[in-house]
């Protein structure tokens, strides 16, 4: 199973996600990237991420995304 970091590197290989705690403010992820990321997280971990959880603060860092994955339900 891929880690969150590996998924991020697959979406935006030009960035080093291990060095940032502010992916949105640092311009590493935009709204469109979030849609791709959500789809990949759902497919990789077999979860469904609730629509109301798709807000920038859940995607600012690897820890925030891992927290979102843990909170998301398996359909």
């Amino acid at each position: 199973m891929k880690s969150v970091l590996e998924i991020l590197n697959g979406i935006r290989p030009e960035f080093d996600f291990s060095t940032s705690q502010a992916f949105i403010a640092d311009g590493m992820l935009d709204s469109f990237d979030l849609l791709t990321l959500v789809s990949e997280l759902e497919a990789e971990y077999g979860i469904r991420i609730d629509g109301q959880a798709i807000v920038p603060e859940n995607f600012v860092s690897i820890e925030a995304i891992e927290g979102l994955v843990r909170k998301s339900v398996r359909p």
């Binding site: 502010a22 311009g27 109301q52 798709i54």
Partner: protein, 275 residues
């Protein structure tokens, strides 16, 4: 009589969107808007909201028409909202539907069923810093000054269709000039060309790049582009949107190292004379 009321606080906008998300089964939206931009629209009194059929609809006034943004629990609720007479009474509306070509086409279904027609398609192109492209040696153009704002706006309005290209307001131009994000090439007293960009951290978006009629074939465009890259040494990803049918522009962007990333913007407008 209209169902739409002015949005006076960012919190009202956020609450309206979150309320729909909570009820959503198949959340449907074209809201990919920077909250800072929403705040500017609210301050300018340009944003109105209505909740119809469980769907939040936002209208942003722009020149002689309005941009429509939607936040719907599912496509059926969206279609029901768009069918309401309160929407039809609002005159010329334009909507941007974003995603892969297939996803944008799917999003278009409820709009097409309610009088919206395809008007243009834009594609996003990306350039990763260091990608092979044109030479990036320094060749300074210059940043725009506050007294250039009206000339910049005039050039943009003469060169682009605001229904397709989301042109900035005068306040947006002034703000970008203040931030040093508009480069200009001068030709005597006139502006021979301009390049308008927006940088957030490691990503920069090229919003408008043009050479004025009468100033073409003098290398002004290339000079502006080189200066843009030179001023963004920390940027790793450059983005832009281009009209899908504008082959000349797409060829130029390829020359500068950009390539399509698969994201499309389908612009639809309500029936009637666009201008």
């Amino acid at each position: 009589m209209t169902a739409f009321a002015e949005v006076t606080a960012l919190s009202a906008y956020v609450d309206a969107v979150a309320g729909v998300r909570r009820r959503a089964g198949a959340y449907t939206t074209n809201l990919f808007v920077d909250p800072a931009a929403v705040e500017r629209w609210i301050l300018g009194g340009a944003l109105r909201h209505a909740e119809l059929e469980g769907t939040s609809l936002f209208l942003r006034r722009d020149r002689w028409f309005q941009h429509l943004y939607v936040s719907a629990p599912d496509p059926e609720a969206l279609a029901a909202a768009l069918a309401r007479p309160e929407v039809a009474r609002e005159g010329l509306l334009t909507v941007d539907l974003l995603g892969s070509q297939a996803a944008a086409g799917q999003l278009a279904v409820p709009f097409a069923a309610n009088g919206f027609k395809p008007y243009a398609t834009l594609r996003r192109m990306v350039r990763v810093a260091g990608a092979q492209g044109a030479s990036e040696e320094a060749s300074p153009a210059g940043t725009a000054a506050p007294e250039d704002v009206d000339a910049i706006l005039g050039l943009l309005e003469a060169s682009f269709d605001p229904l397709k290209e989301q042109l900035p307001s005068r306040e947006d131009v002034a703000s970008a000039v203040g931030a040093g994000q508009v480069l200009v090439a001068r030709s005597g007293e006139a502006l021979g060309g301009l390049l308008f960009f927006e940088t957030t951290g490691l990503t920069s978006t090229l919003r408008y790049w043009l050479v004025a009629p009468g100033h073409r074939d003098r290398g002004i465009g290339a000079k502006l582009m080189r200066d843009y890259y030179r001023r963004c040494p920390a940027v790793k990803r450059f983005l832009l949107w281009v009209i899908d049918s504008n082959g000349d522009a797409i060829t130029k962007y390829h020359h500068y190292g950009y390539s399509p990333d698969g994201l499309h913007d389908l612009v639809m407008i309500t029936e009637g004379n666009p201008q």
